[in-house]
């Protein structure tokens, strides 16, 4: 019997892991960067790294089903004659008609309206579907200005000047030829079938001083009625928030890197911008330093998935959150019922992110008439409303347990962090200690 030396187990590189190798091969074969939808998929410090303390001897709770816990929020009271009043502090983020189908936009409007909140247009103009089915609709003012017109500005309930988004701070919109149908092309004044790559900067203003003048123009056009939001990607949240306030914003929207996009480069999504958790405290700090906290409202988005995330964001000083990816999942995105078709596209339910290709089995991120039929906007709207109500109930459950009769009474003191990173980012103590990294002298 021959003795064989024991072999070592084959070992793959942590640096050159399977995904990385596959991407190198894909790039070499195709000569184009990887484009996908969604937000950052890498593991990041997030709300999961925070815990609520709940009540104890020094804090007493409210009765779960008997004592009121307010969830309402008013957005835009700084300058607007007609601020937005929402029943819940969870809004629907901007997503374009073009990236989404008409029925999907309708479903978002229906769900938001049933739940007492607002929805938002996107980089493609306002459609009748969403205006008609959204009690409160925020109209985005984007660098591309596709479909922008004064009539829609006036029939919006608020205006959101989009400077950037979390998935791609510094990047413009992208909608590839497969999704530029006749209707999308007409709304955007573009030839059908071209690859549309929107500008990353606004065409008629640059910098905070210009922004102030631009906001004045929008207010004058709409007779100072509409709240004006300024949305930024999670780049420099302290300064971006302060500058937006200086420019006259009623509401600042900060979108962290987990916030989704319809399509952009994978390298952009995963490597530019900061996690949502890292953006909140600097943004709140900027408002507090200016004496504008709760006067200018702060909306945060990017990876909000449940009522606990809502409660944690509010405890850190946010006025409302916004959801995009979670709303699409509630409509039916990435549903395992379409697994066989996801497999045909070379992916699996839960991982499908080639929204730009327009072949979405769930019929949401597509302009294909046959696929679009798969989404029933009434049923999907109901699912979204259910989800929003569950999130709200969950947040209330936590708030009552912390003794709060309003979600907005939650505070950083109610939280601890499970990791040093999260403690430093959120500015709350590491669990079991009174240590907040970066504060208390070290």
């Amino acid at each position: 019997m021959t003795y064989k030396n024991p072999p070592t187990t084959p070992r793959k590189s942590a640096t050159f892991d399977d995904y990385t190798l596959s991407e190198i091969r894909r790039a070499a074969a195709t000569g184009i960067y990887d484009i996908r939808g969604g937000g950052a998929k890498r593991k990041l410090p997030h709300f999961d790294d925070l815990l609520f303390l709940g009540a104890s001897i020094s804090r007493y709770p409210l009765e779960g089903y008997r004592e009121r816990c307010d969830t309402s929020v008013v957005l835009g009271s700084r300058h607007a004659k007609k601020p937005i009043e929402l029943k819940i502090p969870i809004t629907i983020a901007g997503m374009s008609f073009g990236s989404l189908s008409g029925p999907a936009k309708e479903a978002l409007g229906r769900g938001a309206t049933l739940a007492g909140t607002s929805t938002t247009t996107g980089d493609g103009g306002m459609t009748e579907e969403e205006r008609g089915h959204s009690k409160q609709l925020v109209y985005q003012y984007l660098p591309s200005r596709y479909g922008m017109n004064p009539r829609d500005l006036r029939r919006a309930d608020a205006i959101e000047v989009v400077v950037g988004q979390g998935a791609k701070p510094g990047g413009g919109g992208m909608l590839l030829g497969q999704k530029i149908s006749d209707r999308v092309a007409e709304m955007r004044t573009l030839p059908k079938g071209i690859d549309q790559r929107s500008a990353s900067r606004h065409p008629d203003w640059t910098g905070p001083d210009d922004l102030e003048i631009k906001i004045l123009e929008l207010r004058e056009i709409t007779d100072w009625e509409k709240p004006i939001y300024v949305k930024v990607g999670g780049a420099r949240p302290y300064y971006d928030t302060a500058l937006a306030v200086k420019a006259g914003a009623d509401v600042v929207v900060v979108d962290g890197m987990q916030g989704g996009t319809a399509a952009t480069q994978e390298v952009f999504i995963e490597n530019v911008g900061q996690p949502t958790l890292a953006c909140i405290r600097p943004a709140v700090q900027a408002l507090q330093d200016l004496g504008m906290h709760r006067k200018v409202q702060l909306i945060v988005s990017g990876g909000i998935r449940n009522g606990a995330d809502v409660a944690k964001a509010l405890a850190l000083g946010v006025d409302a959150v916004s959801i995009g990816t979670a709303a699409l999942v509630a409509l039916g995105d990435n549903d395992p019922r379409w697994e066989a078709e996801y497999n045909e596209l070379g992916t699996t339910a839960g991982a499908y992110d080639d929204w730009h290709e327009g072949r979405d089995p769930a019929g949401i991120t597509t302009q294909d008439p046959e696929l679009m039929k798969r989404l029933d906007p009434i049923a999907a709207g109901r699912r979204l409303a259910n989800f929003l109500k569950v999130m709200t109930l969950e947040a209330q459950t936590i708030a009552r347990a912390c003794g709060k009769n309003s979600l907005h009474n939650l505070e950083p003191e109610d939280l601890v962090a499970l990791t040093i990173e999260a403690a430093a980012m959120a500015g709350v103590p590491l669990a079991g200690t009174n240590w907040i990294p970066g504060k208390n002298g070290f």
Binding site: T30, G31, I32, S144, R145, M148, N149, P150, R151, L153, L176, G177, T189, L190, P191, G193, I194, D195, R197, A199, P203, D204, W205, D210, I213, K214, L216, E217, E220, I221, T222, D223, W224
Partner: protein, 241 residues
């Protein structure tokens, strides 16, 4: 600009706004309050002194004479009114205009007619950089020269320049048509000189007529537009960006 003799004064006529004594808000609100078919069709703005957002979002077919120079976004999102600025205009004049017309007797700063969807913008002096940026159907006629990066990502509409154009004209242009009579310092990515066919000569003559230009023939102009090579991404074109 020389002072213009006025036939009316703000003290006597509610359609004359003196921004020395009345606010921009009052002016724009009065213009927005106009009902369709109103007989109050002639308006005058005195002492604009560089005010921003003069006569923005007007959506009735009225005439507005602005006696002096304006700041940013004069006539922004104009829908149907006829605005004449008897002076120069700051950045973004006529931005996102839908219809109607705006005439600037002097010069215009950056981004004139940006993202305009329709109507006619006439600049009787020079226009600065990024004139007609992202234009989406507007017609722009400039008597003088235009600056660099003009008609960047221009999607639709016509830009006519009687003088010269700066660098990178029509960079990443889509389907807008550019007519330049003088020299062009350089063309931007995917913008090329194109043949002036009879329909273009006819189109250009119509634009010159609408803008009140006389003494120039369409045949003196060159036409520029998209080569359409960048409409669908190809890695081998990456050097063009």
């Amino acid at each position: 600009m020389p002072a213009t003799k006025l036939s009316r004064t703000a003290a006597h006529d509610p359609r004359v706004f003196d921004l020395d004594h009345q606010s921009l808000r009052e002016l724009n609100q009065a213009l927005h309050n106009l009902a369709p078919g109103s007989n109050e069709t002639a308006w005058e703005v005195l002492n604009p002194k560089g005010s921003h957002s003069v006569a923005v979002g007007v959506d009735q077919p009225v005439a507005i004479d602005v006696r002096g120079s304006v700041g940013y976004y004069c006539g922004g999102m104009n829908s149907g009114s006829t605005i004449t600025v008897h002076g120069s205009a700051g950045p973004g004049v006529g931005e996102n205009m839908m219809s109607g017309s705006i005439t600037i007797k002097g010069d215009a700063s950056q981004y004139a007619g940006a993202t305009g969807k329709g109507g006619l913008l006439v600049i009787e002096g020079n226009a600065s950089s990024r004139c007609g940026i992202s234009m989406k159907g507007i017609d722009i006629v400039v008597y003088g020269n235009i600056g660099h990066m003009s008609a960047f990502m221009a999607q639709s509409g016509n830009l006519v320049v009687l003088g010269d154009a700066g660098d990178a004209l029509g960079d990443s242009i889509y389907e807008a048509r550019l007519f330049v009579r003088g020299k062009v310092d350089s063309l931007g990515a995917d913008c090329i000189a194109k043949e002036m066919r009879p329909e273009h000569l006819e189109l250009l003559q119509g634009l010159l007529d609408r803008a009140g230009v006389t003494g120039f023939k369409p045949s003196e102009f060159k036409r520029y537009g998209s080569a359409r090579t960048l409409y669908n991404f190809n890695i081998d074109n990456a050097d063009a960006y």
